[in-house]
Symmetry: C2
Subunit: 405 residues, 2 copies
């Protein structure tokens, strides 16, 4: 199951970026499970990573390499997370990067590793290394769709987004891919996102945007509240668009940021739409909160509530469960009298109880839709935040009860 | 589904306590949905309540009445939580208490109200009030099993525990009942517990024990992480056992506390065993933590993880999911090298990765059992804590997707 249309966009090639994909036989023979993103010299990369204390070997190594050298290759494998694998896992990650570096004639630290899949199994590094020559030989500017397919695990759809815009006389391309369908919650997930542009971004702006754009997209989605050991979202800028370097004072910064934000949001939303077993795409808006933190606490508590999620699956406008979730979000001094809860434009709760004009029929009509907005007005401040989630269905249980077996 | 034997114990009558039960037709005609617990004059009551900010009208009223007068009656209805019902809900709760008080010839504040069921529907107070004369006429000392059945909602089993012990020459009886199967998590749940003893307890000790015993039992269980608006757990002491008042310095205090703790734990565990859709009863032990808070953060993060819970349902020893949950529990500076994870006596994780002597067969053999202990040794302190939970099954989704309809 998945919510909404799942077709990939037409990808605009990004100057200075090539992608490649092969089958290394990591978990299943014949499955395309190894992807490379090759960046032209002079490219800049920034990223955000999982906050899980037990982040995987490739995450640790990727962070180190990012500090040490100009990135030239991103190597991504599915089928194995190389997490919970101890020292051997780190050696395997280094070995894969070193082999790619040698094949491509770059330094070790120019290779950034990413892994996703089962935790705790040894990485079959030998198979990955054997597949590298074919992988590197097949890179091209027009293989974004292949790359999107190549990073899938329990995903039912490849995920991509792309934009083209003009900054003055110069054309800028943005293309991105993402993966993830479970173990998804704020501060990433078994979530990978790779967004590339041929704009030339000042290093400081690249880092800031990578953090800001990721925070308001990938870190605002949740499927099951589980945070993976392997999440990463990378922003790459090759600088080959032909125009000047863009910094915070550039007249083009706002347009470019808006386009990038759209790509980030589309990629993040695509993960929720493909959430394991998802039949609904749910936006949770919290408004008039006293702080960002309390807005997010309320939004995520509602988004994680199994009772709310099963009611969404059943298309049941059971607002009591929403109310109970808001009440246990840990926000001190909430005033039930000031609170209002809406489903789409239908008011469910106002003045401390069920809204006078609420009817089960109107609630049901909103709930029957595939895309639902739950709006919670806390009535105590000026801050609004949004998160996105999906429902909890039988298929979620089936998928996760049968993943390894 | 439910885990383990579900038979009620033989209840020891508690001197000075009578219970009664009738059908008031609150939600379904004919269903026994109204229970009273009548206490002899001189009884003392202490309780703990939900921490949900939107606690229901009966919870608010019960707290007020507890402060104001000597409690004589506990009135419990199922089928309607009287939560999210605004001012009318409070008037309804008061009206029910007032009617009982008038029928029984006691003051209003001597009646403590409790409600459980659907949130947000008006309480049919008239039907409750009409049923009170029959309810009061039918109370008896030997109707504990009826009362246990009368407070059920989505429970598939009535839940009770009972002990008899001798304190010197005097016999003390303890009997308790509980209900709850969903919306269960620490700091109560749609969880009700009523524990009575005929021991004579000093008021200070009664309050302290009510808090302590509840904290280490009802506040250590979780089914779905949702906290209800209506939870309450009450400890009642009639003082009719014939012996002297027991205070903290009494030579009998330890024995009595131990027996009460057993009853609290049995009642709390019965809720988990009857968790909505539960097929496993899971103990999560965290040892060598640096503080109680971090032990509980880790234990509850594992207990709430949908990925861990679906793996338990599938009897899949997927320790990577446990590891990932520990890593995202918000505990700073966890050392993967110092960590060990056990399933029963089988070590899964040690020295930063899969334990050398682990085999899938041994993990599978432990996972196949109906009662499972996950032990997480953090290797950084002296504190141990335990929580109890169940798995996440298809039946959980079915039950909660169909509850109202």
């Amino acid at each position: 199951m998945a919510v909404g249309p799942g077709t990939l966009p037409q990808f605009f090639p990004v100057k200075g970026v090539k992608t490649g994909i092969v089958s290394a036989g990591i978990k299943k023979p014949g499955r395309k499970d190894l992807v490379v993103i090759e960046l032209a010299p002079g490219s800049r990369v920034a990223g955000i990573f999982t906050t899980n204390q037990f982040c995987a070997a490739p995450v640790q190594l990727c962070r180190r390499h990012l500090q040490a050298a100009e990135p030239r290759f991103l190597l991504i494998n599915t089928g194995n997370a190389n997490a919970g694998t101890g020292e051997p896992g780190m050696r395997d990650a280094v070995a894969c990067c070193a082999a790619l570096a040698e094949n491509a004639g770059v330094e070790l630290q120019a290779v950034l590793p990413f892994s996703t899949g089962v935790i705790g199994e040894p990485l079959p590094a030998g198979r990955i290394i054997d597949a590298l020559p074919a992988l590197l030989a097949g890179t091209a500017e027009d293989r974004w769709a292949d790359a999107a397919a190549g990073i899938m695990t329990t995903d039912t759809r490849a995920k991509g987004a792309s934009r083209q815009l003009h900054l003055g006389e110069h054309r800028v391309n943005i293309s991105g891919i993402s993966k993830g369908a479970g173990m998804i919650r704020p501060n990433m997930a078994t979530m990978l996102g790779f967004i590339a542009t041929d704009a030339k971004l000042a290093p400081e702006l690249l880092s800031r945007w990578s953090a800001e754009l990721g925070e308001r997209s990938f870190n605002r989605i949740t499927i099951d509240g589980d945070t993976s050991t392997n999440d990463a979202c990378m922003l790459m800028a090759t600088g080959q668009y032909g125009g000047p370097e863009i910094d915070a004072d550039s007249p083009f910064a706002d347009d470019l940021k808006t386009a990038l934000q759209e790509v980030y949001l589309e990629l993040a939303h695509a993960i929720v739409r493909d959430g394991e077993g998802a039949t609904k795409f749910v936006t949770i808006e919290v408004s008039r909160a006293a702080s960002v933190q309390e807005a997010l606490d309320v939004a995520f508590t509602v988004a994680h509530s199994p009772l709310v999620k099963t009611a969404l699956f059943a298309s049941d406008p059971n607002w009591g469960r929403i109310l109970a979730a808001v009440g246990r979000a840990g926000v001190e001094g909430l005033d039930l009298q000031a609170l209002a809860i809406f489903l789409g434009d239908v008011c469910l709760v106002r003045n401390g109880g069920r809204a006078d004009d609420y009817s089960e029929e109107r609630g049901q009509a909103m709930m029957n839709q595939e895309e639902i907005t739950i709006h919670i007005d806390l009535g105590r401040g000026e801050v609004s935040e949004r998160v996105w989630t999906c429902d909890l269905s039988h298929d979620y249980v089936t998928i996760n009860a049968e993943y390894r077996t």
